[in-house]
């Protein structure tokens, strides 16, 4: 159905760039433009959702780009899925950005907000692209719009991260263009057709594989598939709203979206299985899932840990798509596809919560490393609770969004018979807990006086055999703490005698913690640690509502998606997408 709405959705945010730049000296007016554009964008995209669920496809054609390829923007089911995620979360992030940028009194805020508007316009353009070439146009524009955001801080590190980002993403763009040219040459069209372009199912195997490989590589750069993921952790140098919305939601999801389009609407799941690219892609995704989780265990910087978590979680989506393709056509395939696609909004909400929390912590306390965050739950209770909720969802704990998508993925992989991938998913769940739980634990159950080193972060790789480190001693021995020596009334080994030591960790393997203090010793010993965190209550005194509101919204959204995913519209959209592509209803 011809409609101006897809075009309008892209234009309203793109056009907002001009008044934002023009409002350079008036921050409140400038922020007003951002919010106005965000609301308008969400309204336009939201208005298309009921129609799309009924089966209408909204199309805007602007002319011909190159021969045989029209410049079409179409809001179909898959497009609306990504478009809705991007629009909704942009509104939330706009509020958060205001709080964040003002909290840090950042420079170049006008450039920031203008580039942000441009980025979302490009992301919505990607969502509504009607064919591979239009998607490529917006893909490149997204790179151009997000580059100033990565290099925002203008430090050497930021510029280096920006250069790396440009190199990787433009390289990806070249691969996408090459793949698009090949598809056009092989079939005469690049338009998205649910179930795949018909002409691609009979072509020469090598050429089809090359085209598929090029497209997946090109999109895989932004989707942070290993080994093309390395730009993402470095891009964490950007301000947190950028890391959150763009590098956890818009940019990486546009890469994922590209892969989804290629698997579902360019090649189609059955053709992907025919050319034998389903299993290799799934294997790559499973590899990325696990290895990224392992690397995340070692990261002390919270944002880098979240970056690797993103790399890992994105591969859940790719795994779902790949298994869905490999097992096509069958019910297992449909389950896997539903799981993979539902993870797009699920992960977006959860990861955005996590990044928002990291950013709030940075603004309020200038703490970036987990080892400095002991007891921070006192200072920022709402934030850390939201963090805990989102982290639980990441691991796949029920009631939160991540469980629903993981459930579908697990059923899909098991029904298809690929137990290796089921194992990888389960292992990843455990690893998720392993790298998120320490953060929650240290925030709520430790304090600045009383915290342990985290072996996973601070331990030597491979472990210590014979520690020359004084902390290593057998049962009954002393830890040669300077503090202990000074005080003299602590005898670490005399657990039974003194009854003062309650740390459970002491009992393990004879390895002693640095501080073996029981609760009642807190604050007694004139530690060089400095004062403990301020206690703030649960009423929002920990930070500004500009930041807390979005955090709670995103966390709440994760719970809503976990409890009523169909009513929250996303699962319904996903089920319809999969039905349209495979003909199977799950």
């Amino acid at each position: 159905m011809e409609s101006l709405r897809p075009l309008a959705a892209v234009l309203v945010t793109a056009a907002a760039t001009v008044p934002i730049l023009a409002s350079r000296g008036r921050p409140d007016l400038r922020e007003g433009w951002t919010l106005l554009a965000a609301v308008a964008n969400l309204a336009i995209v939201g208005s298309m959702v009921p129609g799309v669920l009924d089966g209408t496809v909204y199309e805007s054609t602007v002319g011909t780009l190159v021969p045989g390829v029209e410049f079409t923007l179409q809001a179909d089911l898959l497009g609306v899925l990504f478009g809705l995620v991007a629009s909704l979360l942009w509104l939330v992030t706009s509020f958060y950005s205001i709080g964040y940028m003002r909290g840090l009194d950042e420079t170049d805020q006008t450039r920031y907000f203008a580039a942000f508007a441009g980025s979302v316009a490009s992301a919505v353009g990607i969502a509504f692209a009607g064919n591979l070439l239009v998607l490529f146009v917006f893909y490149e524009l997204l790179t151009v719009a997000t580059y100033p955001l990565v290099s925002h801080d203008e430090t050497d590190e930021a510029r280096a991260a920006g250069r790396k980002y440009l190199t990787y993403t433009f390289g990806g763009g070249v691969a996408v263009l090459a793949g698009a040219v090949m598809v056009y040459w092989l079939t005469g069209t690049t338009a998205f057709t649910p179930g795949g372009i018909a002409g691609l199912s009979g072509v020469d195997l090598t050429l089809a594989r090359v085209a598929f490989g090029l497209l997946i590589t090109g999109f895989g750069v932004k989707a942070a598939l290993m080994p093309l993921h390395s730009w993402l952790p470095d891009a964490m140098v950007a301000p947190t709203p950028v890391s959150g919305l763009l590098h956890a939601v818009a940019v990486v999801k546009s890469g994922i979206f590209g892969i989804a389009r290629v698997v579902l609407d360019v090649f189609g799941p059955e053709t992907v299985a025919e050319i034998g690219m389903g299993i290799p892609l799934a294997a790559l995704a499973a590899f990325t899932l696990t290895v990224a989780s392992v690397i995340a265990l070692r990261q002390d910087n919270l944002k880098r840990r979240l970056a690797f978590s993103t790399v890992s979680q994105l591969s859940y989506i790719v795994l779902g798509l790949a298994v869905g393709a490999a097992a096509a056509p069958s019910q297992a395939s449909a389950y896997a596809l539903v799981g993979g696609l539902l993870h797009i909004p699920a992960h977006a909400f959860m990861k955005l919560t996590l990044f928002f929390c990291a950013g709030a912590i940075h603004v309020e306390t200038h703490t970036d490393d987990i080892s400095d965050m002991a007891g921070i739950g006192k200072r920022m209770p709402l934030t850390m609770t939201a963090f805990g909720i989102a982290a639980a969802g990441m691991a796949g704990i029920p009631v939160i969004a991540g469980f629903v998508s993981k459930y579908f993925l697990l059923i899909g992989t098991v029904s298809a018979g690929y137990l290796v991938f089921t194992g990888a998913l389960l292992l990843s769940g455990i690893l998720n807990i392993a790298y998120f739980w320490p953060v929650v634990y240290t925030a709520f159950f430790e304090s600045k006086d009383e915290n342990d080193e985290k072996p996973l972060i601070e331990g030597v790789l491979g472990g210590r055999l014979f520690g020359h480190d004084a902390a290593l001693a057998t049962d009954g021995g002393h830890a040669d703490d300077g503090d202990d020596a000074a005080n003299g009334d602590h005898v670490d080994g005399d657990d039974a005698a003194n009854g003062e030591h309650v740390d459970g960790d002491d009992a393990v393997d004879g390895e002693y913690d640095e501080h073996g203090y029981a609760d009642d010793h807190e604050g007694d010993h004139g530690h060089p640690h400095g004062g403990d965190w301020d206690v703030r209550g649960w009423g929002g005194q920990e930070s500004t509502w500009f930041m807390l509101g979005p955090i709670l919204f995103a966390a709440g959204g994760s719970i809503v998606l976990g409890v009523i995913p169909d009513t929250a519209v996303f699962l319904e959209i996903v089920r319809e997408i999969v039905f349209a592509v495979t003909g199977v209803r799950v």
Partner: protein
């Protein structure tokens, strides 16, 4: 109005003389004369183009009928070139009212150059093409030398020496062709050369000499050495003008020689010829970009960028299919607008702040937002960010290469995006993400004409990208005939 074809060459020459004579009467009257002349030229070119896209115009000069006389042939391709020359000349004039050299002699030579370029674009006779090539060359050497200081003179001397060698090779090639066939008319030559046989050594030698001579003029690596010095040493308006037009029309001449005189059959009979063209293309693309990255002076970076971009055009010429030819033409037009725009922007920035080195561009967005913004847009369109014209030309060429299954060329042309990014990202990072040094910027030295011209160039780069498809459709019959 049937003499339009001849008049379009005659008018600039006439106005050139007028400018010179006016200078005897009153100083600084060159610019108004040139503007009037170019305005007339644009109108005539538009009228000509209107007719030429429907039906090729053939005009016989002086009543001496072909193949003995000189014939002027205006098809879609020639009309594009003529219109491009006229529009860009007028745009550079808008820029140079305040900025450029103001002597009458300068504008007289400027108009002479326009005449030479126009003549080269529409002639149907190879020797006539040589004559106009030399007129173009001599006028260009004089324009390059018109800057202040010894640097311009040295650059012009280098350009003169290398350019004359190129033109002499071209003349030799014509000579060989004439010996083989006894005719100089392009259409007639194409028939006669076919009769002589495409594997005849005389014909092959002629081709090689003509192509290498034109490679010098197009500045294909390694015959490009005159270009960085000429572009950097010339005054800013001259750099913009020559970079946009002189190599472009030389590339047009290459297309004309290869396809109208020698035809596709020659390339099929001599695969080595195609290899020669493709090799020149690949080497230019790669080495042009690599050399561009290491330059300290911005104008030299842009000069090496031209070497690289023309490599794409020569590559398209080597492919000999319709899609590639349309791509070559779109890229020629697009590059003229983008490179001319970039040089004008560089001139604008230099006038306001004195910045000539890449390092001087640090933090320019804060001091000169207009110049910095326009530079950014033009640079990104050169890299190939859609929907600007740089992308569209590349798409057609890549598609043509894929259709011809010339995979090495496909890879190199796609890689050229990354290579172009390499040298432009350096400059863009400095402009947008570093703090200024504290140099003084004087915006009052910029005239309205300068600012408007560069903004129009940036807008045109994007708009042409969107219009390129329609243009490709219009060009299609011309290209089909070219390759027949």
């Amino acid at each position: 109005m049937s003499d339009l074809a001849a008049l379009i060459v005659a008018f600039p020459m006439l106005f050139s003389v007028v400018a010179l004579l006016a200078g005897l009467v009153r100083q600084e009257t060159g610019w108004p004369v040139a503007v009037v002349g170019m305005a007339v030229q644009v109108l005539v070119a538009a009228a000509l183009a209107n007719r030429a896209f429907e039906e090729t115009i053939r005009y016989v000069v002086g009543g001496f009928s072909a193949p003995y006389g000189i014939e002027l042939v205006v098809d879609g391709l020639s009309a594009t070139m003529v219109l491009l020359v006229a529009v860009i000349s007028l745009a550079v004039l808008a820029y140079s009212r305040v900025a450029g050299p103001r002597t009458n002699a300068f504008y007289a030579v400027y108009l002479l150059l326009v005449g030479g370029l126009t003549g080269m674009s529409i002639t149907g006779d190879v020797f006539n093409m040589y004559v106009f090539l030399e007129i173009t060359g001599l006028a260009a050497y004089a324009l390059v030398a018109s800057g202040d200081g010894g640097r311009s003179a040295l650059a012009a001397l280098k350009y003169l020496i290398v350019g004359t060698i190129g033109a002499s090779l071209f003349l030799l090639g014509i000579g060989y062709a004439y010996i083989a066939t006894g005719t100089l008319n392009m259409v007639d030559l194409s028939q006669q050369l076919a009769e002589v046989g495409y594997t005849d050594p005389l014909v092959q030698a002629s081709f090689a000499l003509l192509v290498v001579g034109l490679f010098v003029k197009v500045a294909v690596f390694p015959l490009h050495a005159w270009q960085p010095d000429a572009y950097a040493g010339a005054p800013d308006s001259v750099s913009a003008f020559i970079s946009a037009l002189v190599s472009t029309v030389a590339a047009y001449a290459l297309i004309r020689i290869v396809y109208t005189v020698f035809t596709v059959e020659f390339l099929q009979a001599n695969p080595v010829a195609q290899t020669l063209l493709a090799a020149g293309a690949v080497v230019s693309i790669v080495f042009g970009s690599v050399l561009a990255v290491s330059q300290n002076e911005i104008k030299r970076t842009l000069a090496y960028s031209s070497v690289s971009q023309f490599g794409i055009v020569v590559g398209a010429v080597a492919l000999a299919n319709e899609t590639a030819m349309i791509g070559a033409t779109i890229h020629l037009v697009g590059h003229a607008v983008m490179k001319g725009g970039l040089f004008l922007t560089v001139g604008l920035i230099a006038t306001a702040s004195g910045a000539r080195a890449v390092d001087d561009y640090e933090g320019l967005i804060q001091q000169l937002p207009l110049g910095a913004g326009v530079f950014g847009v033009l640079a990104l369109s050169m890299v190939g960010v859609p929907p600007a014209v740089g992308f569209v030309g590349k798409w057609y060429v890549v598609l043509g290469a894929v259709e011809a299954e010339a995979w090495p060329l496909v890879v190199v042309i796609l890689a050229s995006t990354m290579l172009t990014l390499a040298y432009f990202a350096r400059v863009l990072e400095r402009i947008f993400f570093r703090d200024p040094d504290g140099g003084r910027v004087d915006v009052s030295r910029l005239s309205i004409g300068m600012q408007v011209t560069v903004v129009v160039a940036a807008l045109a780069a994007v708009a042409l990208g969107m219009l390129a498809f329609e243009y490709g459709q219009m060009l299609q019959p011309t290209v089909a005939e070219l390759l027949a």
